[in-house]
Amino acid sequence: MPVFNFFHWSKEHGRTLTQTGPLVSVEIGVPAALKQHLGEKGLAIPSAVSGFALVDTGAFATAVDHSVFDSLGVPHIDEIPTFTPHGPGTSKVYPANVSFPGMNVADMPMERVVGSTLKWKTPEDQEIIMLMGRDLLQYFLLVYNGPSSDVTLCY
């Protein structure tokens, strides 16, 4: 089982794991079925969107910022009830293809990702585009090492 360590450290801020939370580089791409369809029609396949995923053991479902799907041109396939700071509402559900380049994990198909408004940048300018929920974490072993400011993930 490959083991990957992600050190959360910067020259300016030192140990950053407490401030940022556990981050992993991620790429969100067009789902395989749509990719094949576009290819067969001779249409351009949008490039995957790169950013960081925040590991969120408190969330069941993985969520991705809406803007990612806008730039990929992937329409939503469902709407589900959701709870926000403003009360109950609805969230759109999208299919996506998720890759973790830092772990050599490519093309994990996810048919139901929640679209949300969650994009923000860390003080180190890392743009977070995804909250990695337990639906993805079920495939990983995770070690959160606070004192050394690193996160270990095994796939």
Binding site: H37, G58, A61, H76, P85, P95, W120
Partner: protein, 82 residues
């Protein structure tokens, strides 16, 4: 793009879908029920094959509606500084 028509049809058909296809995924386009599939992946693949980038609904047929809750996001604590 809205899934208003598709969601309305799903709600209307839900008792019948639960009776015949509980646990499967419904594929609905406009006001047409296309079919029920064993996985969301298969339903989506069929939807793309038929309708390309047009809107269509892929929804799990179950008694309880799926609800998304993320406590930290809901409470605005994801990037709070104290």
């Amino acid at each position: 793009m809205s899934l208003e028509k598709e969601l309305a049809l799903f709600a209307k058909m839900k008792p019948e879908l639960l009776k015949n296809y509980s646990g499967k995924f419904a594929l609905i386009h406009g006001e047409s029920f296309i079919g029920a599939f064993d996985s969301a992946e298969n339903a989506y693949a069929e939807g793309v094959k038929r309708f390309g980038r047009e809107s269509f609904l892929v929804k799990k047929i179950s008694e309880q509606e799926e609800v998304y809750r993320n406590q930290a996001l809901s409470l605005g604590l994801m990037h709070a500084r104290i």
